[in-house]
């Protein structure tokens, strides 16, 4: 034969070699597999043959040799292949067998993004998943799946390598293999009372067959503040304040001579070069019997405000050992050590008057260099000095967290088709903090004296420590069988959890009459027994503790006939220590069905349509929710604060914290969905669509009438909407491939009923939850303009809201009773977007790649809860206030400059359009040529540049259009913290 020998290598799009890929000469049985390094050799091949390379999870590639004897094949991952295996609750399943909605995200998608918390990087990537990010260092995003379905807890359940957790901020994104987002009844019912808010399953890396790799990667970057609100400078402040005092008939401000500064407080407290650095080492080694994966990470990150720093070390270890063909054991550990940041806020920097210099300079040495106090009349008592807080007092605390989340399992296969798996999990979370209250001198210009900041006369040390231990055990029996064309995959199991928490804290102050003086400002002394500075009579201690448990039975069956007709059923019974014994257990279930139309013979030739699945599911799930701090709703405790005093005797009196309710149960969420999964044009184009409908019943409510409190089940909330996901990928040439895609989610939220139809107000904001409106809607007056004259006032309905004059808001008489009264308040905004969306474009050209992510929301309102002035102090003005009404016809929107609460009632004046569109992430990368690297014994070298939050088109006047919050009060912009623009450079080496 005149055959030639062809050598080649097979790599994935990231340049990683693919060992074990099948390489076959098309139309023959000649073939081989790639070795550990992804290389293959084929002998006796005709020079015009076509070779076909296939690998599970990748699109099969066909390569014409065209006389070449050396080929390099890059395999495209196929996230939609029929054989895709996804992680589901208590096991894995082939995606084609499922009737529910599960979105898989590869670990790589979050690993190379700058966010410490992996869920932050999912923003805009998954339909149905709303992530509202915060710029605060170490802050937790507000995450909701398919709307807001409860009053207290809407955050999803996280399952990390099998253990239930409330968050995943302890997982290094670099250690993640995959993230699965579960959204519908069929996928979630197996999680019972924890399932209703959706589940995010995180699986950390495990070594794959035959793999031995070492990866080192590092990134360095900077954060930059953006979208700073326009606030008055000193000149404008004086102009506006003078006008205001004149309007009020008050004397002019008499201290301009001592307050001659012009300070941009936001700039003053900002860290201009906030750094972010990560270093990760990971190692995977798999032999025939043993699979080991090890990851070590270090991260340091600074916040936007000066002196905010977080340091984190993470550890991930996963080892599985096959004792025999049918018996396996394994261990997983995720460990973390955090040095937690002292975070601040920009609120007071926005409020502080610019006319003050941050620092006082003086010829008297003891006065020189002190921080200046703001004028007593303009925020002195309320704000003090934002720079002092950012640079001094905020930093007197040390907080550390250690967390170890681990598990061991043993699994045995028996009787051919059965597998029994027992797992034991532990989550140990230790938090420690020490802090110091200093005495900080501050210069008071009006009186030319030195005062103690905040009036603080005593130094004090606080120390606290807490441990949470979460113990979980799972026992699962699974059975798989194929009876001809009937395929069955079942699991039954028992699981229990026990969560124990104890925290202790204490404080001690110095003795002002002692000769040894104050507690030194040195962390060596920041302990409760500080001697001889601490005054033992001031030492107080406290503790906080709870213990709660659940015990559950679960079962699931996945059935299909010929991969055409699918049926899924799940059941779970959850019992909890938190409810009354007679009412302790609740049942949850789901049923799902699907039809893969393209498997039908009569659908064989459908032109461009390659795959069509029609699916639907329904079920009843639970939401185990209680407002923070309540652990024993069945055993209401007594309030320790209810202490009676008689003379100097302190007698612990108590009042019941709330009325007990033996009938209390968890919330039930009834949900159903209908969906389509389609692929077109040889799987290059995909389009998935779902309609979801979730109705929360028996809302668990903490009723506080202002005078009495108790828990009850009452009220209903509905969330429904559509989800669309689409993608298109193609190769324009061997060198150039691209993919584009996107997702859109609509959310239609409505509160169907509340307890006795009473509205629920969130304290201090305009948020109101009431029957017939979206949850947390903003509630207030409609501003129809400004009263231009007394004649204008006389011609319009009288207002009973307070005194008003020309230049004040003209509130609308909504109920038309001829008077402006509190009854004229109405719904003035909805914090839930009409839809949220994400888009991506990925381009690969030779060794370069470019990934662009876009994301946005549309149709929601944001309540501006900053820059509206204050009843108790004069704050700085938004620049917009320069247009304040100052005579007939001067403005019909900005009220006069006047310190009255009349214009501060929640109204449409504070409502801003929350829609935005953001260039969420831009990543440009270069992979060095595989062939060159081989000589250096390096598998891969990759360089990348990443830009996050590059630009946001928005309509709000605050830092960020995103404002998370509680389920009943969100979308309220309190001016706190901007979302930074983060630019990083990364290097990754794989050996």
């Amino acid at each position: 034969q005149d055959g030639v020998t062809v050598r080649g290598s097979v790599v994935d799009t990231g340049g990683q070699p693919l060992p074990g890929a099948s390489v076959v000469v098309k139309g023959t049985t000649t073939g081989t597999q790639t070795d550990f390094d992804g290389n293959f050799t084929l002998q006796n091949v005709a020079s015009d043959d076509v070779i076909s390379v296939s690998y599970i999870g990748f699109v099969t590639q066909e390569v014409a040799l065209d006389g070449r004897t050396s080929v390099s094949v890059t395999m495209e991952e196929d996230t939609q292949t029929l054989d895709e295996v996804v992680v589901v609750g208590y096991g894995t399943a082939q995606k084609r067998d499922l009737t529910g909605s599960i979105v898989s995200v590869k670990g790589g998608e979050v690993a190379d993004k700058p966010a410490a918390n992996p869920v932050a990087s999912l923003q805009g990537k998954v339909s149905g998943l709303t992530v509202v990010n915060t710029g605060t260092l170490g802050g937790t995003p507000d995450v909701r799946i398919r709307g807001t379905s409860s009053r207290y807890n809407v955050s999803p359940l996280y399952v990390v390598d099998g253990i239930f957790a409330d968050n995943i901020n302890f997982v290094n994104p670099n250690d993640i293999e995959s993230i699965e987002v579960l959204k519908d009844a069929s996928s979630l019912a197996i999680f019972g009372v924890r399932g209703a808010n959706g589940v995010i399953i995180v699986t950390t890396k495990k070594a794959k067959n035959g793999e031995f790799t070492i990866n080192l990667n590092s990134s360095t970057g900077v954060k930059r503040i953006s979208d700073v609100p326009d606030m008055a400078d000193a000149t404008l402040f004086k102009e506006l304040y003078n006008e205001q005092l004149a309007n009020e008939g008050a004397a002019p401000f008499s201290y301009y001579d001592v307050f001659t500064g012009d300070t941009d407080w936001v700039k003053r407290i900002t860290n201009k070069s906030a750094m972010i650095q990560t270093y990760n080492l990971s190692l995977q080694n798999a032999t025939e019997k043993n699979k080991l994966s090890f990851g070590l990470g270090y991260r340091s990150e600074e916040g936007l405000i000066k002196n905010e720093e977080m340091k984190r070390i993470t550890l991930n270890l996963n080892n599985q050992y096959d004792l025999s063909d049918n018996f396996r054991m394994g261990i997983t550990i995720n460990g973390l050590r955090d040095k937690l940041p002292n975070t601040g806020s920009y609120s007071s920097a926005l409020n502080a008057t610019p006319i003050v210099d941050p620092i006082h300079y003086d010829s008297r040495p003891e006065y020189d260099g002190l921080f200046n106090q703001l004028p007593t009349e303009i925020g002195g008592p309320q704000i003090g000095n934002p720079a002092l807080v950012a640079e001094v007092t905020k930093n007197k605390a040390i907080a550390e967290r250690y967390r170890f989340v681990g598990s061991v399992f043993a699994e045995v296969d028996f009787l051919k088709r059965f597998t029994f798996k027992a797992s034991v999990y532990g989550d140990y979370n230790n938090y420690r903090s020490r802090s110091y209250t200093p005495i900080v001198p501050i210069y008071v210009s009006e009186t030319d004296e030195i005062a103690n900041f905040n009036g603080n006369q005593l130094t004090r040390v606080n120390q606290s420590s807490s441990v949470a231990f979460n113990f979980q055990q799972d026992y699962l029996l699974s059975y798989k069988n194929d009876f001809g064309k009937h395929n069955l995959n079942t699991v039954v199991g028992f699981t229990s959890t026990d969560i124990y928490y104890e925290g202790i804290s204490g404080s001690v102050a110095h003795d002002p009459s002692s000769t040894v003086g104050i507690i030194p400002d040195d962390e060596r002394f920041w302990y409760l027994d500080v001697y001889p500075y601490g005054d033992s009579s001031t030492r107080v201690s406290d503790s906080d503790e709870y213990d709660r448990a659940t015990s559950s039975f679960l079962a699931r069956a996945l059935y299909n006939y010929d991969s055409k007709y699918l049926l899924n059923a799940s059941y779970r019974r959850d019992a909890t220590s938190q409810l009354a014994p007679d009412n302790r257990a609740q049942d949850f279930w789901s049923l799902g069905a699907g039809w893969v139309a393209t498997q039908e013979g009569f659908m064989n030739d459908l032109g461009p349509l390659s795959y069509l699945k029609v699916k639907g599911s329904m079920g009843e799930l639970g939401n185990q929710v209680l407002p923070g701090g309540t652990n024993y709703p069945y055993y209401p405790g007594v309030d320790e604060g209810a202490t009676a005093i008689f003379g100097d005797q302190v007698i612990a009196g108590f009042v019941q914290r709330f009325e007990e309710n033996p009938d209390l149960k968890w919330e039930t969420v009834k949900m159903w969905e209908l969906g389509l999964e389609t692929r077109w044009l040889d799987n290059r184009f995909t389009l998935n669509a779902n309609y979801y409908n979730r109705k929360t019943e028996d809302l668990l409510v903490y009723v506080n009438t202002g005078v009495q409190t108790f828990f009850d089940n009452f009220g209903e909330i509905s969330n429904k909407g559509f989800e669309f996901e689409t993608s298109w990928s193609d190769n324009l040439s061997d060198d150039f491939s691209y993919s584009v895609g996107g997702n859109v989610t609509t959310i239609d939220n409505e509160v169907l009923s509340t307890f006795e139809d009473a509205p629920i107000y969130a304290n201090g904001t305009a948020s109101r939850t009431i029957t017939g409106e979206p949850i947390g809607s903003f509630y207030g007056y409609i501003v129809d303009g400004i009263y231009q004259s007394n004649a204008d006032i006389a011609s319009l309905p009288t207002s009973t809201l307070g005194t008003y004059a020309p230049g004040d808001f003209k509130y609308r008489d909504v109920n038309g009773d001829g008077e402006i009264t509190p009854d004229d308040r109405t719904t003035i905004g909805n914090p839930t977007p009409d839809f949220t969306y994400g888009l991506y474009v990925n381009l690969d050209y030779k060794n370069f790649y470019l990934n662009l992510d876009f994301q946005g929301v549309y149709g929601n309102e944001v309540y501006r809860n900053w820059g509206n002035g204050n009843s108790f102090a004069q704050f700085n003005y938004r620049t917009d206030r320069v247009n304040g009404w100052n005579g007939s016809g001067s403005s019909n929107w900005e009220p006069r400059l006047y310190s009255t609460d009349y214009n501060r009632f929640p109204s449409t004046y504070m409502i801003e359009d929350g829609s935005y569109f953001r260039i969420r992430n831009v990543q440009l990368g270069y992979s060095f040529d595989h062939q060159i690297l081989e000589k250096l014994k390096v598998q891969q070298v990759k360089l990348s540049a990443n830009f996050q939050n590059l630009y946001t088109w928005k309509n709000t006047s605050g830092f960020s259009p995103e404002a998370g919050g509680s389920p009943t009060s969100f979308g309220v912009d309190s001016g706190g913290y901007p979302l930074p623009v983060i630019s990083t450079l990364g290097l990754s080496l794989t050996f």
Binding site: A451, Q708, T900
Partner: protein, 469 residues
């Protein structure tokens, strides 16, 4: 499943459905006392409603500070949605519901031991005080006697003032019967003297002069109370639960610095910087009040603290001038000894009790009731007034006719109880409010405050707004 795993009792605290190890309702009653100390009932709302509305006091602080509250109270631009108004209302009903719970538990458990009867009487006396204050500020209010199990239990239509008064009288009659005369072990706990004083005051508001005099006379005749000879001591920590005290909201700072106090005094402290940062500077005396004291009246220096002047033996030295201090006068009854501030390491006064009833008030009310009813001679009326004047270092009153005595009593009440949340209500009661306060914006409808919008909203309209609002 396995119930052992799921039987988790609360850690570190008793649950209310466990045996608490104390008899009767004693512990729950202590809880009621603590609730009277909350900011909403015992805090600065008292100042806005009781003092700042009068001609004796004004808002204070800086011009822009709490300007809206200033409008709402100082200038009679009442607002149903005002936060202080909502707190005041809710705070009172919260105490009332805690009282209901005790009273109803004792009844439903059929407790008749002496301790339980005293607990019942304490709850009734405090409940009566709450209803009295509500009735005085809002007029018609809902009478709720039920233990609150579901929110609808907390709402009822308003009752007429006469019905509210009768309800208060019924409670107080039981209370005066069962409460002890004194509490040697528990200074400041509710006594029969407190119940009788409140009952006498209610009769006075009803202009039921005979009953008022009889009841107040019983307090005087009990020989438990006397005027504190030292005016300085009276308004200091030393005066807490002193000879003149009939009922006070108890406050203290413990040795280890824990505060059991609300913002009542801190909100009135001198608003300065450094060592003169004693508080927020609200509720300051007017020039009108300063001028109301007769020459030589010792009470003047114990009522008015003046910027730029010596603090008068309190050890704090000379106050800064005004300006930079925003106010010329400050409420000295809220001022403290400098060494107390030093001792506690805290500038704001959180160790003095808040006076609800003191004996001087009882003497003046007795004088008024006696004078109006004619039950006692004008000399006896004058004698009651003179007891007060004598402590103030003033000569006996020259008034002798009923009308002269009436004016003398009005003057004496004003200066004796100045800044103590009595003046506004007295002016309304005497029918003098329009004349005295008219220049400040007062209209007859301002005798009653609008019911908080939140209470109306939450009741779903069961509670209706006062007719003039």
């Amino acid at each position: 499943c396995d119930d052992d795993l799921l039987d988790k009792l609360p850690l570190g605290e008793v649950a209310t459905n466990e045996e608490l190890g104390v008899g009767g309702q004693e512990a729950a009653v202590f809880g009621i006392y603590s609730k009277t100390r909350t900011t909403s009932v015992g805090g600065w709302s008292r100042l806005w409603f009781g003092s700042i509305r009068s001609d004796d006091a004004e808002k204070g602080s800086t011009a822009s500070d709490a300007a809206a509250n200033g409008n709402a109270f100082n200038d009679f631009q009442y607002v149903a949605t005002n936060g202080l108004n909502t707190e005041w209302w809710n705070g009172h009903y919260e105490v009332i519901f805690a009282c209901n719970e005790v009273i109803n538990n004792i009844e439903s458990q059929g407790l008749t031991d002496e301790g339980s009867l005293i607990n019942d009487a304490e709850a009734r006396a405090i409940r009566a005080l709450m209803y009295f204050e509500l009735r005085r500020d809002y007029g018609e209010v809902p009478i709720i006697t039920a233990t609150i199990d579901v929110p609808s239990d907390a709402f009822a239509p308003k009752s007429s003032v006469a019905d509210v008064d009768q309800f208060i009288i019924d409670d107080l009659k039981i209370a005066e019967e069962n409460l002890p005369l004194t509490w040697p072990g528990f200074p400041g706990r509710a006594t029969s003297g407190f119940a009788k004083s409140l009952l006498g005051k209610l009769y006075l508001y009803q202009e039921d002069w005979n009953n008022a005099y009889d009841k107040l006379k019983e307090v005087i005749d009990s020989q438990v109370y006397a005027l504190d000879p030292s005016l300085i001591n009276l308004f200091e920590k030393g005066g807490n639960n002193g000879v003149e005290s009939i009922f006070e909201i108890q406050q203290t700072i413990t040795e280890n610095g824990e505060q059991y106090a609300n913002i009542y005094f801190v909100s009135q402290g001198v608003r300065g910087t450094g060592e003169w940062n004693l508080g927020w500077g609200f509720n300051v005396p007017t020039q009108d009040l300063v001028d109301a004291f007769e020459p030589g009246d010792l009470r003047k220096t114990n009522t008015i603290l003046v910027s730029g002047e010596e603090d008068g033996g309190f050890g704090g030295g000379i106050l800064p001038e005004s300006p930079p201090l925003a106010q010329k006068y400050w409420n000295k009854k809220a001022y403290t000894m400098a060494d107390m501030r030093q001792e506690y390491g805290v500038n704001g006064n959180r160790w003095e009790n808040i006076k609800i009833f003191r004996y001087a008030d009882v003497l003046l009310m007795a004088a008024e009731a006696g004078n109006e009813s004619g039950a006692i001679s004008s000399a006896d009326v004058a004698d009651l007034i003179n007891q007060i004047r004598s402590r103030a270092g003033l000569p006996n009153t020259t008034a002798s006719t009923r009308s002269e005595l009436r004016d003398a009593i009005k003057q004496e009440r004003r200066v004796e109880l100045a800044m103590e949340e009595s003046r506004f209500y007295d002016l309304v009661r005497w029918g003098d409010a329009s004349e005295v306060l008219g220049g400040l914006g007062y209209l007859p409808k301002h005798a009653l405050y609008p019911i908080p919008q939140e209470a109306i909203d939450q009741s779903g309209g069961v509670i209706t707004q006062n007719s003039d609002y």
